[in-house]
Symmetry: C2
Subunit: 409 residues, 2 copies
């Protein structure tokens, strides 16, 4: 058990401002009365915290008709209750590096995406300096479009292993990167704090907050197209591992006699369920991602036997490999993102049948298997959330430091 630390009165203020800001960020505008119930604090404490966060510029109190609030009833007589609302003009930049494109977005408190830019890489070229330059340009463009916004940080999603201690991109095979200090390069270009995370780790966070796994605290996520990555929530918290390299589900050995994998091993799960394997066995050109897999699905519906057999094969191995995740993690929900979600939707029965095929013991009768709900932008939403995390954890101090850094009071 980790050392338990006591809570001082200063710490108490931090915890409670954090609880209030996090609540309205994730749940939207909320009356003081509801905050009292949800946070388990008394009315006067909620009043003090709200005033403090208003003064800090992180929330505002609005009339219900000024915001779009579910479940807030306007009183028949008298003034309506004000609702405590997150300020959408405070936020972060999020950046998603994919194999074929870079996406940049600006997210305010409350989670709204207000600016989005997308740019394709030159085919096959992911030279680090070039990626940093493109990303920097895109971020500057987004920032120029919203000069009114206080942008506190940048969150980046990367398809690879990211070391927790210093955010080093240790290995990103589909970018061809080994040991790249992307954080340093981008933060010196933009003069903003930068955090970097693995795309599947960010994907599971986003699906948990806004997508297919809302309300579940034990979640397994398997996503990707060419490369297959995994992200896990345990007690609602991301599984990181000792160094940040957890969730490498793509390199589970599912077939000891199978094909060689680019990781050096044989019969890795990725070699069975990756998009290119599916495309090749359907007799298609590899590399087309979601759109190409959608064509295979449609061809199978029209009776193309080669396409149907390729989907059957992928569905079998998808279910087979999920057994290991279910036996180890006993998740409530397995979310399949990217092309794996397409395979699930096309062959739901076969995936589930294979998952449970040899269950003498019912390890997984209650697991729910779902396609991701956020499409391919999921990891970007997760990156924004991680970039916001320091502000949500300590709202007053982080905002004060930001204003000092920008010469304002």
């Amino acid at each position: 058990m980790p050392k338990k630390t006591g809570i001082s009165h200063e710490e108490l203020r931090r915890v409670n401002t954090s609880a209030l800001l996090t609540w309205v960020h994730h749940n939207g505008p909320t009356t003081r009365a509801r905050l009292t119930r949800e946070l388990g604090l008394n009315r006067s404490t909620i009043g003090d915290l709200t005033s403090l966060l208003c003064d800090t510029g992180l929330v505002q109190e609005l009339r219900p008709d000024q915001v779009d609030v579910e479940g807030v009833q306007v009183r028949r007589s008298g003034r309506p209750s004000l609702v405590v609302s997150p300020r959408p003009d405070v936020g972060v930049l999020a950046l998603m590096l994919d194999v074929d494109r870079i996406v940049a977005g600006l997210f305010g408190l409350g989670g709204e995406l207000s600016e989005r830019r997308e740019r394709r890489h030159q085919p096959g070229v992911h030279e680090v300096g070039q990626v940093v330059e493109s990303a920097t340009q895109m971020c500057r463009e987004v920032l120029r479009a919203r000069p009114d916004m206080a942008v506190l940080a940048v969150g980046v999603s990367v398809p690879g292993l990211v070391r927790s201690s210093d955010s080093l991109v240790h290995f990103a095979p589909n970018l061809g990167w080994t040991d790249v200090q992307f954080v340093d390069l981008l933060s010196s270009a933009l003069a903003l704090p930068v955090s970097v995370g693995n795309d599947a780790d960010l994907g599971v966070l986003a699906e948990h907050l806004y997508g297919a796994a809302v309300g579940s605290s034990e979640v397994a996520y398997v996503g990707g197209t060419v490369g297959i990555g995994g992200g896990f929530l345990v007690h609602g918290q991301p599984l990181r591992g000792a160094e940040g390299y957890s969730g490498e589900v793509g390199h589970l050995t599912v077939d000891p006699d199978g094909h060689e994998c680019r990781c050096g091993s044989r019969g890795c799960w990725e070699t069975k369920i990756g998009a290119n394997q599916l495309l090749a066995s359907a007799g298609r050109l590899t590399g087309g991602g979601l759109a190409a897999v959608e064509e295979v699905v449609q061809a199978a519906v029209r009776g193309d036997e080669e396409a149907g057999a390729a989907l059957d094969h992928a569905a079998y191995w998808l279910g087979f490999g999920m057994r290991a995740l279910v036996r180890l993690f006993n998740p409530e929900v397995v979310v399949l993102g990217g092309t794996l979600g397409q395979v699930l939707e096309a062959r739901h029965g076969r995936v589930l049948e294979t998952l449970h095929e040899r269950d003498g013991i019912d390890f997984a009768q209650n697991v729910s298997v779902r396609a991701g709900a956020l499409g391919s932008d999921g990891p970007m939403l997760g990156a924004a959330e991680v970039a916001l995390a320091p502000l949500l954890a300590d709202p007053v101090s982080v905002m004060s430091a930001y204003r000092e850094g920008n010469g304002a009071a």
Copy 2:
């Protein structure tokens, strides 16, 4: 992200009494000055908390010469600092149900085992009623031996799947139990609260607190003899899963064409590394557990080729299956308990070599693989810890409820 709840002033007292009692329980007698530093609270708060816990009968302040304290220096002049010490006369019963025996122990705050009883099952007989009767007798014997002790609860270790919601023993193949409500049976016999946990989940907790994984928060534990179970710590907390069925490492498929397993599948890890498989391939009778495996190890040292080949085979598959754990969890430490610890010690090089054999990507260069340090009593220590958890979480309320239940003030 789970709902964050604010902290009220009542909750603050609970958190801080919990932090202090948990600290001295795990670390032993401690000066107030050190508690101030370790818990991050000021001197007067520590004083108040100590008085409250003294009045509650959970700690006492002693002179250093009355206790065995590491690192407490007696002042050259003046009175020595008192040390805050856990009361060893408050504690819990722990019970371990193994395939071949039942063990009962009495543990005080501070973790000392003061009474221990062991009884073998009648060969092959694990009828629930009989096990409850034996266990009840053993517990009563232990309680009679220490009438001075306030015993608050019972913790039980079971070799099987335990459902978190109600502690139902869902499936314990080596006892032949399916859906047994052992908690109800034992708690009505003993009139004490009972908690039940999976032996590997309790094993990893014990190795983390007192054994081979002290100081590591990301730990994978694989233990057992006949059946193979897994327990994991993530951020220092036990991995449970949605229903409590996580960590079923024994039923990972490592060889899709392998032998049938009693779970209904084929080529499960358990069929490759379980003690009986090792004994059979060494040409020995199955069923002898640790002692029989030790004979195989000794025979191999003396040049018995069949014994040596059996150890080589077990070591290969031990390393092979650990790859999956390392890729998924990226643990800092893998602890191997029971007969697996013996295989590791006899064939350390081969296990590590197989683990890293195909690492094109360095998933696991820094993982430390160790034999368990607590022998076969580990899960019992874990069971005691889980039984103590409610007291450690809310010392004053739990102790008051206990005294009210016992008619004392």
